[in-house]
């Protein structure tokens, strides 16, 4: 596993998501409540772009006719067939035991740390005064 520098933190502000290519793989980066989450940008169903999906909340129900939207901003719905995935874990809601999106651990590192290594910054010019989104893969 190697830490790859994805982008300066300013590129993915709170509540947004953006697509990057890291190690040749499309990675959808989501920012939720100050944390970054990465998912392979291919829905495990038929390969739809999760980054192009609607970000919403987890709709739960205690009984028929009741609706409670929880963790708004932490669920992404594939634009092709509506399959839902937990942005934090990749878990699907249509078949949680068998189907999940591929998650990647993300973190933030300072420009100084990134400059020292052992980070890989393929295409991202690194400046010490900036913080960076880093993915482990």
């Amino acid at each position: 596993m190697t830490q790859h520098v994805v982008a300066p933190v300013a590129e993915v502000p709170p509540g947004s998501h953006k697509l990057y290519t890291v190690k040749g793989r499309p990675i959808a980066v989501f920012k939720v409540d100050g944390e970054y989450f990465g998912m392979l940008d291919r829905c495990p169903h038929q390969g739809g772009s999760l980054c192009a999906g609607v970000v919403s909340g987890v709709l739960v129900s205690g009984k028929p006719g009741t609706y409670r939207l929880e963790r708004n901003g932490e669920l992404v719905r594939c634009p092709w067939h509506g399959w839902e995935f937990d942005i934090r874990t990749g878990q699907s809601y249509c078949d949680p035991a068998k189907i999940r999106g591929k998650s990647y651990p993300m973190s933030v590192a300072s420009g100084a740390a990134v400059s020292e290594g052992p980070y890989v910054a393929e295409t991202v010019p690194v400046r010490v005064e900036q913080d960076y989104i880093v993915v482990e893969m």
Partner: protein, 350 residues
């Protein structure tokens, strides 16, 4: 052992119900000149309505205990058979008249069939036109363990998952009665989603559409979330359509789960735990060897319940079990599945 989950005793004629109606309704029958409740679900002369060898010279098929014993119970070696009396009660627009006749039908079944033939059990006919009255009718018979099920029709005023019907399911669950949904219609709506067809062939074939709609409705409206122990039995529904319908329903549920967040299992899983289907009619593939593949698609050997559908003409002779059924499945269908489905069947009735 054989348990036949779907037979259809006929009410011999309207006059046979008169002793079980109170004075007011007897008077109404007389004043209005009511003679028969004829539904087009099973027209008297349609070949499907009665097998030629079960069609008497006079009177209706399956209208006497002698007919039922000699044509159905004895030849098939039946130990228990569940009577689903189809008598057109659901077609009436008067809720009170429907309730009076439902009560009369159930009383006739209890006194003239169940009291006299220990191999018979029955479904409770209810006036679905008024849910409160339907629940009253369930409560009236719930203490009699020979009634094992509540009988509804595949087409009525509204899809059966709607919450207006839930008191019926609550009563059924309370008394460990299954909900049997039988082919047929109140004809308050066209019998197909596309409108009124012209021919009986279309009508009968379209029953499967109605069952599919009801199954989707029960699942999507959350009936099985609210009543997790409730078992729904689809009767004379056909069953070879089930895998394809569930593939479709499951596919769209996966994409539209947010509409119905209470449905937290795939429709396939819900069917396996809460839904059963009677064997006849089996609309199998042309080559009976292929039937096993259809069964494999059900992903369960617990879903099918033996039925002859007597006196309806679904097969000849005693070939109620279609060829192509795996031997291991036969005992499940004939005995184990019915016993697991109908909680009340295994209770003593004396």
């Amino acid at each position: 052992m054989t348990i036949d989950c779907d037979i259809h005793p006929s009410i011999p004629n309207l006059a046979a119900l008169l002793p079980y109606l109170d004075e007011h309704w007897r008077e109404i029958v007389k004043l209005r000149g009511m003679d028969e409740f004829n539904s087009i679900s099973y027209p008297a002369r349609s070949p499907l309505t009665a097998r030629p060898d079960w069609r008497p010279e006079k009177g209706k098929p399956a209208a006497t205990l002698e007919q039922i014993r000699g044509e159905c119970l004895d030849p098939f070696g039946t130990d228990l058979a569940i009577c689903n009396c189809l008598h057109g009660i659901q077609l009436l627009f008067s809720e009170d008249l429907a309730a009076a006749f439902a009560r009369a039908v159930n009383t006739l079944v209890a006194k003239e069939l169940l009291d006299k033939e220990p191999r018979l059990r029955a479904s409770i006919v209810v006036p679905i036109q008024n849910v409160g009255l339907a629940v009253e009718e369930i409560e009236r018979w719930a203490g009699d363990p020979r009634f094992v099920q509540v009988l509804l029709l595949a087409s009525g005023d509204h899809p059966l998952g709607k919450r207006i019907y839930w008191p019926i399911y609550a009563a059924a669950a309370r008394h460990r009665l299954t909900i049997g949904i039988h082919a047929g219609s109140s004809y308050h709506n066209p019998p197909t989603a596309a409108g009124w067809p012209t021919y009986y062939t279309e009508d009968y074939t379209a029953q499967a559409q109605a069952f599919q709609t009801q199954l989707s409705s029960l699942i999507c409206e959350g009936v099985f979330n609210q009543y997790p122990d409730l078992i729904v039995v689809l009767l004379e529904s056909g069953w070879t359509w089930l895998p394809a319908h569930l593939w479709r329903l499951t596919k769209y549920w996966r994409g539209l789960r947010m509409e119905i967040p209470w449905v937290d299992r795939s429709p396939f899983d819900i069917v396996r735990s809460n839904v059963r289907l009677s064997l006849q009619p089996t609309d199998g593939p042309p080559d009976s060897a292929d039937l096993e593949r259809v069964i494999e698609h059900l992903k369960s050997d617990a879903l099918l319940l033996f039925s002859t559908d007597y006196p309806h003409w679904q097969f000849d002779g005693r070939d109620a079990l279609p060829s192509g059924l795996p031997a291991s499945l036969k005992r499940k269908i004939m005995v184990d599945n019915p016993r697991a489905t109908y909680a009340r069947l295994v209770e003593p009735v004396a």
